[in-house]
Structure formats: C-alpha cells, structure tokens
C-alpha cells in the first residue's frame, strides 16, 4: 500500500497510462502519457516536471554540522559555501559506498542532504556526542524536478523577482512561488539545464499548479520515471540498487562498490582524512581498485543485423532496461551492463556498467549480450567516455 506523495491529487489526475511504481514507499508515475517518449522529448527539448518527493531528505543543524558531514562524506564539505550545493557519496569503514546525494548548505551550520535510501540512523550514529541534530524531513518537504532547456524560462515567469540568470550550476536560492516559500537548487538527475524545488508539503499543490500553468507556453509536460530513467542514463548517472548496491544492503563482496569502482574517484580528495572509510580508500587509491565503471556504445548496425537475420526489426529496450547483461572481452565475461537504453537524442544504444580491471579502458572493443528471439547473442560494443550526453546549457 504505497503512500500518495503531496502531489498525488495532481499527478493521479494527469496519469493517463495508470502506470505506477512504488518508490521508497510512495506511489510514483512511470509515465503520464500512454507512452514515455513525449515526456522524454519534453525534458530534452522543452521542459519536464518530475515529482521527486520520495527522495529521502535530512536536515543537519548545529555547531558540529560541518564536522559531522565531513566525517560522513568523502568530499570536503567545507568547500561548500552558503547557498551552494555539493555532490558526494558516503562510505562505510571498508570504503564501500552506502549511498550518494547532494548536500546543500542553507546557513553556516545548517545543511540539507538528499539520499536514495534511509540514512537517518547512520547520520545520527556518526554524529554521536556531537553538537548536531539530524532530522528526517522527507515527509514535510515535497520536491519537484523542473528539467529541460525551457525550465529557466518557466521559473522566470512564475517568480520574476528572483535573478534566475545569476543562479549558477549547483547553487541554490530562496524564492516564493504562488506565495509559498520555496528553495530552488540548480541540480537534477537529467544531465540537462534544470532545477529542483524544495517545497513545504502542505502547500505542494500551489507550486505544482503555478509551474504547470506557466509551463503551458513552454511545452512543459509532467514526466514519469520511464523518461527520467533514459535521461539519467544519457548523463551516465548511476542508480542505487540498479547500477550498484549499497554497502548496507550488499550480500557479498561482489555487490560492494567503492567510489573508485563506480568512477567516482574524483569525489575522494587526496588530502582529506578522518572521514568514514578514508584509510581503505587511501589504500585503494594507491593500489588500484578491482572494478571500473564504464559507458558502452553498442554498434547499432551490427545489432540491427543480428535482428534482421531473424527477420525482426531491432527490438531494443525502449525504456531503460535494468536487467543486467554480461559484458564480454575476448570471449570471456569481464563484467556486466546494468542499465541499457536506446538514446533517442544520440540515436545510439547505450549502457553503463562495471567491468573488472584492467579491462574497460576507453576505446576498447567488447561485446554485450543481446537476446534475439529467445537466443542469446553478442553484439559488438565500444567503451566510451561518459557522460554520453552533456549539453552546454547544463552549466551555462
């Protein structure tokens, strides 16, 4: 029995497909339209509005708030100025990722952290004895992602008094929308120009209505998880429980991932000490990790040929496939592709996954498993740089 989000009355009225999924105990639309492709196009070419309320949100206040976050996060949180947002994973003592999210500095001693999994107990336990309060604000804070090239125009229309042109990537500002105080961060999970809005749950619908009404002139559409799953893969953004397993849930060693395993080595500063897992990460940084995060481009023409031989048009994941498939190098399995989709923008069949080092250098040729009419085939693919798609407007 999933719970409705604070936007449920609005989203359920719009959800023609009646396709829903449970996300962290909440009901989330997979698509609103009968198919997801117009929602995808809206995000990349106009704007999409995504209800991301099910994210876990924590507020950390107190004299030791910065010290606690520096203890938990791999990145140096002191670099994050008031009004700034920083992305970081956090690890266990073995240096394996528990979760990742954004940390917004609201005031000097006040932060807001987003997470994919519940982390209240972990944050509180890490802060034992510190002058700090960790509060779970997940239920009191509704959240919307307004993403796409026209998102800024929509915000300018509904909140003209704020200087949206001055709001830089990974910065936040406080504004009012429809009279409701809203924090807006220039962040997102789409790899595009976009914003995330943090709204008091009780007034969520007011903000939704304002955005939808203003968005009509900008081609805005509500977008579901299916479209989000494609754009995040184009941006090569990892998804917990799909592309990696939280160290708090992993059943065996193979399921555990360090930041280096996931291509997040850049989030581990070489000079930072005394955060959870730092010794193991220091050692891993010196001696190398066992896995490598990779982006793959499947050779579309070769793939097409595999299907044509069975007299079929290429049947590839229209949505993002989350069924892991083997990646082969020189005939042996070297890893797995965990998320795979056809990118309508790039016209390429793309995937992200993990391979065992030393495999997986950019440019190397591999094969991925493709099923054609119940038969397992291998399609040639190339390891490429990620993200697959990163428009200039994302940061501009």
């Amino acid at each position: 029995m999933p719970l409705p989000t604070p936007f449920h009355r609005r989203t359920s009225a719009l959800c023609q497909s009646q396709e829903w999924r449970e996300w962290s105990g909440y009901l989330s639309a997979i698509t609103y339209a009968p198919t997801h492709d117009i929602e995808y196009s809206a995000i990349r070419n106009a704007a999409g509005l995504i209800d991301i309320s099910p994210l876990y949100k924590y507020e950390i206040h107190g004299a030791d708030a910065l010290a606690l976050l520096n203890r938990i996060m791999t990145r140096e949180i002191g670099r994050c100025k008031i009004g700034q947002v920083i992305y970081s994973p956090w690890c266990d003592d073995d240096g394996k990722i528990i979760d990742e999210g954004t940390i917004a500095r609201l005031h000097n001693d006040s932060f807001r952290v987003t997470a994919a999994d519940p982390n209240l107990r972990w944050f509180q336990d890490c802060g034992y004895g510190m002058h700090v309060e960790v509060r779970d604000v997940s239920a009191e804070l509704a959240a919307l992602a307004l993403q796409g090239p026209n998102s800024r125009g929509i915000l300018k229309t509904i909140s003209p008094e704020s200087d949206w042109d001055a709001l830089k990537y990974y910065r936040l500002l406080k504004t009012e929308i429809g009279g409701i105080p809203v924090t807006v961060s220039r962040t997102g999970y789409t790899g595009d120009l976009g914003y995330e809005l943090w709204i008091p749950a009780a007034h969520a619908e007011v903000v939704w209505d304002e955005i939808i009404n203003a968005g009509r002139d900008y081609g805005l559409l509500p977008a579901g998880l299916a479209a989000l799953d494609i754009v995040r893969l184009e941006a090569a953004l990892r998804l917990i429980e799909v592309d990696y397993i939280s160290a708090h849930r992993a059943i065996n060693r193979a399921e555990e991932y360090s930041p280096y395993d996931l291509g997040l080595g850049w989030t581990v500063p070489r000079d930072k000490i005394n955060f959870v897992g730092w010794r193991r990460l220091r050692r891993e940084q010196q001696h190398g990790s066992s896995k490598r995060f990779v982006g793959l481009e499947v050779d579309w023409l070769a793939l097409r040929k595999l299907f044509m031989r069975a007299d079929l048009p290429p049947q590839v994941a229209g949505r993002t496939s989350r069924l892991g498939v083997p990646i082969y190098g020189n005939g042996i399995q070297i890893g797995q592709a965990t998320s795979m989709t056809f990118s309508p923008t790039l016209k390429k069949y793309i995937a992200i996954g993990t391979v065992n080092r030393p495999h997986g250098l950019v440019g190397s040729e591999v094969e991925v498993e493709i099923t054609v009419e119940y038969e397992r085939k291998r399609a040639p693919a190339r390891i490429v740089k990620t993200p697959f798609y990163s428009p200039k407007r994302k940061r501009a």
């Binding site: 029995m1 999933p2 962290s24 105990g25 519940p118 209240l120 972990w122 849930r249 059943i251």
Partner: protein, 525 residues
C-alpha cells in the same frame, strides 16, 4: 507369530516417522509403534470440539528441512504450507506494532515507534539472514565432535571452520554474540522501541525456561530463524490441516516406502540381550523382535526408562539425569463463535492471518517469567496467537474459528497445588490477558482446551512437557546433545539408536535428527 523387523521405531512423532520413512526408503522392513491412537506426537491435529480442529501442541512450521520435503516427496503425500502473512503486537494503550509483507508499510509502522528502528530493521534482517545462512551447515550436518581425533571428525570440523571463516570477521563476531548473549541484549543492539524488542526477543524464549534477558537465549532466537519455506529464509508457515497434517504426510510417505505404523501400541521397554537391542515389549505384553531399535522419545526416556540404566556407563546416566528438560510452555486452544475483534485494529484484516504476539515490552515478558520461575502461574503471560481458521478455513465450521494460544511461561512444578487442580486458572489468566486486547473474547468462546506442561507430558509423553525434548542452550547443543559422546544418534547399547529432537540439531518441526539418525543407522549396517 511375531514378524521380524529390520527396525522398530518407538514413537510416531515427526522425527520417528521421518526416521522410519528413510529406513524404509532404503529397503528396510520397518515398524513404527505409537502409544496414542494417532500419529504425530506433538505434531497432531485433533477435533477436540466437534467441527473445530486444533493443532493441539505445535502450531507453525519453518524449520522442516527442504531435503526431507524433497526426498520423502511430502507435497505428493499431502503437505501444503500456507503463508503466515503478518505479525501484530497489540499494546495495552490501544496502540499496536504491525508488520507484514508490505515492506514499506511495515517500516512506516515501526517508524511510528522509532524512525531509527525502521532503518535498523533492514540491517537486522540482513544480519540475521547471514546468521541463518551460517547456521545452516550446522543443522544440515551431524554435529562434529571437537574432542575426537578421528579423521572423519577432523574433516567435519575443518569444513565447519572453513564455513565460519568464509563468513568474514564481522559476521563471525555477530555469531559469537548470538551464541552467548541474551535475546534482549542482542536485539537491543539494533532497536529501541519496546514492542519491537520484546516481540523479536520472544523468539529467544519459546519453549525455554529462561527470560529474554537470560544469557543464552539469543541462540534460541537464531534457532527460530534458521528455517526457510520455499527458499524464503526465516519464513514461517501454517500447514494446511494443522501440524497433524505434516505428520500424516510423513506417515503416508513412510507407508508408501513400505513402513508399517501401529497406533495404540505403547512400548514398555527395549529387549536387550548380550548388550544388543533385540526387540521391544509392548505394555500389552506382546514382544516384537527386530535388529535395530530406534527411540524417538526424549533422552530421559530413551536412556533411563526404556532400558535399564544399569546397562550403561554411570557417567552417561548422570549426564542424562542432569540433562535440562524443564517444561515451560503451555497451550490454550479456543473454539470461537466469531472472529476476535482487536481494539487496536478492528475488523477482519490480514492482521488475523498471521502471528499475534502479546509482548508489549521486555519488562512485561520478564515479569511473566518471574512468576513462573518461582512456581506460580503467570498472571500476564507472553502469548503467541494464531487463528488457523483464518489461514485454512477447513479448521473450523464456516463462520466459526479456532484460535491457538501458545503460552510462555508455565512452570512444570507448581509451588502450590497440582496442575490437575489448577489448570483452568492458567486458562483464566490467558483469557483475562486476551480480553485486554480483544474485548469481545469472552463472549465468543465456545470451548477451550488448557494444556499445562504437565498435561503436555501426560498426553505426548514429552518429559516435563518440554517441547524441544531438552532446552536449546549452548550447553545442550551440537556434540553435547544429549550427552558428550552420544550426539551421533548411538547409545552404549548396540543397535539401540536415538532420533528425537533431544539429539542434534534439536527441536521444532525440523526433522533433521530423524533423518541423520536414519543415515547413521544405514551407514553402520
């Protein structure tokens, strides 16, 4: 003229029947002798009131080994296990703690009591998955003897040691804690909400004459977590037709393999000539000869009653005398005119299809134990309730219900009076306790059956009414169960074996000891 059998099994409890089925499956001519008019021992379904079927003693299954289900083809012989959907802990203040298969809803309900506990719950479940996984090689193999230098034993020990090392250091430390801590202390490492702590630690005191704060009870908790139903670890289920249907399915399987089962045939003693078991004498005076005698009864009866203790080493006799078999559980079975209406959760919902645990707090549990510890009938006992007719409607007439109340603790010996005189007092205390959560309970009771530990002993023969044939404390497990040197189903008497849950790996409807004993017998012949 008496037929000559390869083996006679004394007692048609589930372990006796499983033992017989495996021996028969190996081509042996097997006879099972049961004192009562029906098979099952403590695994029986009986129609105590017309139309109302009670799983009189044991009431749920989880531990029954998958090897036994497969090898004895139990589904073919009628075994059906229905899921138990939920766990409800009603609280005296009208609140409740409710968990079921709706993962997020369960977490939200735990979060109402403690947000931290909701997160800890997943970590706890994961940790207990590892513990159950670590324990499986222990319950799926005979217990190696660390004092033995025989190559076979050393190999077994080494294999077990390898399993342990493969767990990784952190899990090994948790296992060490689990083997030594109290259930309450163990559970409190994760949780702070009283109803959750009390309900989880209750698994550590089932059938055990110890409170949740007594060291050693964490192991009993693990013992209840080791099972898996259809591959789902830790799942508990209800057998269609009551637990008696489990025994009947095994009996059918045993008969299909050629075993013979005689009910109302109580064994008086085992015939021993020249240090070898030769057969049995029934209390009717009838003698039946055979090559092997297997006792599925508890160690006290196996070593001290069925045979002359003088035939055995004195140290073993003393060990068995000291073997801790204190009965501590009682059962109240109710025939109901309608469904019980819980004040905390009215209506007919999934909460009535699972376990309902009267365990509001640790102090409540300890107080119940305190009463029993000093020989008193607990005023407010811990009660584990299921309503079998909600899971299997055939257990009661349409619209009527049966309710099974497992009660912990009830002393075997009362400090005043006898159970025969005071049995109904326990029944009254249970009903009074229930009434605090189910206001309509008294008005819907059509009949009740109260079984004190003494009654359980009288009916099933289990010494002191101990449901596990001996407590599951570390001092009585593995190579120490039931006594050092006799954990591998043999006795000092040639061709006289033991197969009950008083042997490794212990109680619950698990069947492992019946199976291992059969394997030991077959290997030696």
């Amino acid at each position: 003229m008496a037929k000559k059998y390869d083996a006679i099994i004394i007692g048609a409890g589930h372990n006796g029947l499983i033992n017989a089925a495996y021996l028969a499956r190996a081509g042996k001519k097997v006879l099972v002798l049961e004192r009562r008019h029906l098979v099952g021992g403590a695994t029986v379904t009986e129609e105590i009131f017309p139309g109302f079927k009670f799983s009189v003693f044991s009431y749920v299954v989880s531990l029954l080994r998958p090897q036994i289900i497969q090898e004895l083809q139990l589904p073919r012989f009628g075994l059906t296990i229905l899921p138990l959907e939920s766990t409800l802990t009603p609280l005296p203040n009208g609140d409740y703690l409710y968990r079921d298969s709706d993962h997020y809803r369960s977490l939200r309900d735990i979060a109402r009591h403690s947000a931290r506990d909701a997160e800890a719950y997943e970590e706890y479940n994961r940790e207990m998955y590892f513990m159950a996984k670590a324990a499986q090689p222990i319950i799926d193999n005979p217990a190696p003897d660390p004092a033995s230098l025989k190559p076979g034993e050393l190999f077994r020990l080494a294999r077990l040691g390898k399993n342990m090392l493969n767990m990784g250091p952190e899990r090994l430390y948790t296992l060490a804690k689990l083997l030594t801590m109290s259930a309450a202390d163990f559970v409190e490492q994760w949780f702070e909400a009283e109803p959750l702590i009390a309900t989880l630690s209750a698994s550590g005191i089932i059938g055990t004459n110890m409170g949740p704060r007594s060291p050693g009870t964490a192991y009993v908790l693990l013992h209840h977590y080791m099972g898996d139903i259809d591959g789902a670890f830790r799942a508990w289920g209800f057998p269609k037709g009551g637990t008696g249907a489990v025994a009947e399915a095994i009996a059918r399987s045993a008969r299909a393999f050629g075993a013979e089962i005689r009910c109302e045939a109580a064994v008086e003693r085992v015939i021993i000539r020249n240090g070898r078991a030769r057969g049995v004498v029934l209390n009717s005076g009838e003698e039946i000869t055979c090559n092997v005698v297997v006792s599925s009864l508890d160690p006290k009866q196996t070593f001290l009653k069925l045979v002359d203790p003088a035939l055995m080493p004195e140290e073993l006799v003393q060990d068995i005398r000291r073997f801790n078999i204190r009965g501590s559980s009682a059962k109240v079975n109710l025939a109901l005119d309608a469904l019980p209406e819980f004040s905390c959760m009215p209506g007919k919902g999934n909460h009535l299809r699972g376990a309902i645990s009267i365990s509001p707090s640790l102090d409540y549990m300890e107080r119940a134990y305190d009463d029993a510890k000093y020989g008193n009938i607990p005023r407010r006992p811990y009660i584990d309730i299921i309503i079998p007719s909600m899971i299997d409607p055939d257990m009661a007439p349409p619209g009527k219900h049966v309710m099974s109340c497992f009660v912990q603790w009830a002393p075997y010996e009362l400090n005043q009076g006898t159970w025969d005189e005071r049995r109904e007092e326990l029944g009254d205390n249970v009903i009074d306790t229930l009434e605090e959560y189910i206001p309509n309970i008294k008005s819907i009771i059509l009949g009740r059956q109260v079984l004190s530990p003494w009654d359980i002993e009288q009916m099933t023969g289990l010494s002191e009414g101990n449901i596990f044939q001996g407590e599951l404390t570390l001092s009585q497990l593995l190579f120490l169960r039931p006594a050092p040197g006799y954990a591998r189903y043999r006795t000092p008497i040639h061709n006289y074996y033991q197969c009950g849950s008083g042997t490794h790996p212990g109680g619950g409807i698990m069947g492992a000891s019946g199976r291992f004993a059969a394997m030991a017998i077959l290997r030696s012949r």
